[in-house]
Amino acid sequence: MNERSKILALLLAGGKGERLYPLTRDRAKPAVPFGGTYRIVDFSLSNAINSGLRKIYVLIQYKCHSLQKHIRDGWNIFSRELGEFVDLVPAQMRIGDQWYLGTADSVFQNIYFLDQEKPEHVLILSGDHIYKMDYRRLIDFHKEKNADLTISVFEVSVNEARRFGVLEVDKNFCVTSFYEKPSEPCPSSTNPAVSFISMGIYLFKTETLVRRLIEDAKNTASTHDFGRDVIPAMLGKDRVFAFPFIDENRKETKYWRDIGTIDAYYDANMDLANVDPLLNLYDRQWPIRTYQEQLPPAKTVFSEGERSAMVQDSIISGGCIVSGARVRHSILSPWVRLHSYAEVLDSILLDNVEIGRYARIRRAIIDKNVKVPEDATIGYNPDEDRKRFTISEGHVVVVPKGYQW
């Protein structure tokens, strides 16, 4: 048995992503499309596969149809006969309870799967984040420290840290405090400008995990959340360590994004269309895989003066046709169709969006299956846009899935 097969990965993919509304109106946050052909969850799953993990349960609950389909179609790649799997686990719905009470409760309610596999360690991942990480480095660190729990940590500015779980560590990277969303985050001991935040990646010794989850389940005052309840209760009692994130993206600055808001979502997507994006999707050393149907190649047609197809600084997915239209600094998901004289600037168009002749789109996110009529404009008149659509703080207009004019 190889070392990696003693590790069971649980990917928590029930995130609601409320601040991503209306992109999360019909789908859970991990199922939100990203970068043309991906979904947010593809990053954690790809990391797991690239790290040699072969036993993965994906815990789903809220609005899971789209996520279920994506994972069933795209990630059913293992051999069960060899004990390898990526399995979807829907919320079992305890009698009386609607959904999981918190992240810890979602694992506690599925403790049965730990019985089946009897892993030595359990790696808990979140399906909400975009990053590239080799979990083997975390696993090695965890074993070296003989830790009960190792939390992967990322450095952000003290100000930004307020939105996250903030850790204090000693010189051996032993965690001495953990506060969820503190008003005054403590800086790291080496650099007063930054704080260590939890990336929502937890590697537990199985036995410790079970014992602490049971204690938490019995604690009637608990909110049953890893960050708020389980981890703080372990400090001073168990061996809890912080593992500073090692980035497989191999750029100057480390890349990890919690795509929490529409503006963060917009910026992270737009970055991909830059000459030298912060996130490199073209690295064969660390491939990010996804589910894609068989698609014809993207194509551009017409080059007759005003009626010319022109595509600049953009991502164009398979199945797209840019027909006599102009596209600049935009992301086009599969099957997008742009008609003559239309113009798309600084925008994200999701699958199956059609832009009519002479329509002009600027700084917008258009969700799937929207047909923008001829001559329509989006992103030029905020008052008009606001009547029909959501507009983010950063002035990005979001047209919801299937919107009809």
Partner: protein
Amino acid sequence: MKKLLLIEDEANLRILYTEELKKEGYDVVCAENGMEAIKILEGTVVDLVITDIRMPQMNGLEALSNILGLRKGVPVIIYTSYPQYKTDFMSWAADAYLIKSSDLSELKAKIKELLGERKK
């Protein structure tokens, strides 16, 4: 009077245990499986639960998970003929794991201990 909930699918044992526990001065309510037990717990205040594991509809370990989900802080004793469920992680959530015996003294002592602890 302390109230005990006994979850046991075998009628003979249910009657026997109920009589024995009543002699000890407890009020005893019974359920034939986990499902029934949860319904009782939702509407009744109980001081302690004693549950078998192998039962139809909902076994004792699933019942235990659901009892914790009710968040009433009620202690639970697993009372089974099978020691092998001790390796099931959910069984660790019980306050005691006892093997059934014709002599109920171990069970009675454990009930006293757990109810005594709760008074503190």
